[in-house]
């Protein structure tokens, strides 16, 4: 399966943010999107999800333009993990995860036994069973983020679009999410992840697309793209990229900012 963009121009009327986007995400691969704040990562994601209409160009899921997919068919294949935002009503964690099952229900449906079982599996997978009956709005930002990840897993999509999934997590939970992303890839999901930490690209052994100056400036495997000169260009600071000498991490590179 394939999610692709052909010659896309994205943004708001009279104010294009990204131009000339050509892009392809296949199942079984991870693409990390790097770029400084305001570069247009979220704009790209919203366009790919059909939330923001492209100004021109086309976005295809399995060769069919996404505007021709109906919402629930599309959601069965593409899941979204947004940056956490406030929820106005006190739903429980279980209910929030069951929201992820909506695309699999009929228009008038409500969650059944099978949906509840899948939700429980997702809780277990992320090791957050203890949150099951808690009120979502009363959780910490990090816990909420984990629940939103569980919600996307309950959706059982083939593609997952993650908008800075680790931004509000502590160091341990960040790495848990990265591990989870890697294992999802091995289960042949296609994953597109925006991140502010170039290290994540190395940890996922991922492809990288760098968004810079209103377009995809560089793309390729992390080892070729995440280089000292490119990082300096993106973030405007000096960053050393070194191969770690920890044996079990078998030659993974790490980024060390120079203060």
């Amino acid at each position: 399966m394939k999610l692709e963009i052909k010659n896309g121009v994205f943004g708001y009327p009279h104010k294009p943010i990204l131009t000339g986007i050509d892009f392809e995400l296949n199942t079984g691969e991870i693409i990390c999107v790097l770029g400084k704040n305001g570069a247009g990562k979220t704009t790209l994601f919203k366009s790919m999800l059909g939330i923001l209409k492209p100004l021109s160009g086309s976005i295809l899921l399995n060769g069919k333009p996404i505007e021709h997919w109906n919402r629930s068919q599309f959601a069965r294949l593409v899941g979204y993990i947004p940056q956490v935002r406030a929820l106005p009503f006190p739903f429980t964690v279980l209910e929030v995860i069951l929201f992820g099952r909506t695309a699999h229900m009929s228009a008038f449906g409500s969650p059944g036994k099978k949906d509840r079982m899948i939700a429980d599996e997702c809780l277990e997978l992320l090791n957050i069973c203890h949150l099951r009956n808690r009120i979502f709005t009363q959780l910490s930002g990090g816990e909420q983020q984990m629940v939103i990840v569980a919600r996307a897993l309950a959706q059982q999509p083939s593609f997952l679009i993650l908008d800075e999934p680790t931004s509000s997590l502590d160091f341990g939970n960040q790495i848990k999410i990265i591990r989870q992303v890697n294992s999802l890839k091995n289960n042949s999901l296609g994953i597109l992840m925006a991140t502010h930490s170039p290290d994540h690209a190395f940890m996922c052994d991922a492809k990288v697309a760098v968004i810079h100056d209103g377009g995809i400036w560089k793309s390729g495997h992390s080892n070729d793209v995440v280089t000292e000169s490119i990082l300096k260009e993106i973030y405007g600071i000096d960053i050393k990229v070194q191969v770690s000498d920890i044996q079990s991490e078998s030659g993974r590179s790490v980024c060390i900012p120079i203060l």
């Binding site: 939330i51 629930s72 069965r76 106005p88 429980t92 279980l94 409500s110």
Partner: protein, 343 residues
């Protein structure tokens, strides 16, 4: 997995328990209301009549069936429907402080009724005009928001348009009052705007009931999808919901049922705001339970208020006054509790 399935049950069992409790409470309220009035009746007389059809007094059946029963059914429908409409609007706009008049349905209905009274229409004419202008105000708000708000936040534009159309219709109501004959028309208009259940008849109930059921049914069926809207337009879309279509359906249904009850009861505020808020406290925010529970709570509240309205003093007190006098302080109590517990 078995142990986790075990945890789920107490929750839904608790909700079922509360729903049954509310059901019992409404039966008690109905019996109590039937006994109350200018022609007092003991509970045992009422029960004897209900179960055997025998009564010591020949006027009892007339009083019960023609006077009290329409009013009781009217209170149940008006209170329950306004509460459901409020819950639906609150879910749609993701805001527990929203009430059914947010898109101007009450102001529109108020204007329609005032105009009809000015033109000396019959009671039926007044009701039809209230119904028609109530819905027109909402559609005007939707229409305006579509025209001016193409590239803006759709929900925000809708709320602002609703406020604007509401303001226009309120101004028109004031105009009607200003030019109305202060001896004949003005009291009628004022009385209508304060709401009352005193003139509801069985025939009216038979007419509005099918419309109300038509409006409520889709809301019940779509209750899960309305839940999902809580995370906002974009996330609901990504979760597989056609948000534009769902929004229109919910607005149409909620406005339809609001207009249907307002046209027979006059303007009745507060219930649509306060009852869903309070009910969310009891059964949680899941609309599958919130809708039926809101209906029951709203009905009970309305029955009790109407009992006060018709029997506290020899002259009937307009509902609008009582509901605000009782509802506003109650709202403050819930508000102070909910800040501690987060709704």
């Amino acid at each position: 997995m078995n142990h986790t399935a075990g945890i789920q049950q107490p929750d839904s069992r608790k909700v079922t328990f509360i729903l049954i409790g509310l059901g019992i409470l409404i039966i008690i309220s109905v019996l109590f209301s039937a006994c109350l009035g200018r022609y007092p009746l003991s509970l045992s007389d009422l029960l004897t009549y209900l179960f055997t059809g025998r009564s010591i007094d020949t006027s009892l059946p007339t009083v019960l069936l023609n006077v009290r029963l329409p009013r009781i059914i009217g209170a149940i429908i008006v209170g329950g429907v306004l509460a459901i409409a409020g819950a639906a609007y609150q879910g749609l706009f993701r805001n527990p402080m929203v009430s059914p008049d947010i898109l101007g349905v009450s102001s529109g209905a108020g204007f329609g009724a005032s105009l009809a009274i000015m033109l000396s229409f019959s009671l039926l004419g007044i009701q039809l005009m209230a119904f028609f202008f109530g819905l027109s105000a909402v559609f005007l708000a939707i229409f305006v928001s579509k025209i001016i708000g193409k590239n803006h936040d759709k929900i925000l534009m809708l709320v602002l348009s609703g406020m604007v159309t509401g303001a226009i219709f309120n101004a028109l109501i004031s105009l009607m009052k200003y030019v109305a004959d202060s001896d004949t028309k003005l009291p009628d208009i004022t009385f209508w705007l304060m709401g009352s259940l005193s003139s509801i008849t069985m025939d009216e109930i038979k007419v509005v009931l099918p419309i109300i059921i038509t409006g409520i049914l889709p809301l019940f069926l779509l209750s899960w999808r309305i839940n999902v809207l809580s995370f906002g337009e974009e996330e609901a879309k990504a979760l597989g919901i056609n948000t534009g279509r769902l929004r229109i359906i919910v607005i149409c249904c909620a406005s339809l049922i609001t207009a249907s009850v307002v046209c027979i009861s006059g303007l009745i505020g507060w219930i649509g705001l306060i009852i869903p808020h309070f009910t969310r406290f009891l059964v949680g925010p899941n609309h599958r339970y919130l809708f039926p529970a809101s209906f029951l709570t709203g009905s009970i509240f309305m029955l009790l208020i109407d009992n006060v309205a018709r029997s506290a003093t020899s002259l009937e007190i307009p509902l609008g006054i009582l509901i605000s006098l009782i509802g506003a302080p109650l709202f403050l109590v819930f508000l102070s509790k909910s800040t501690k517990k987060s709704w």
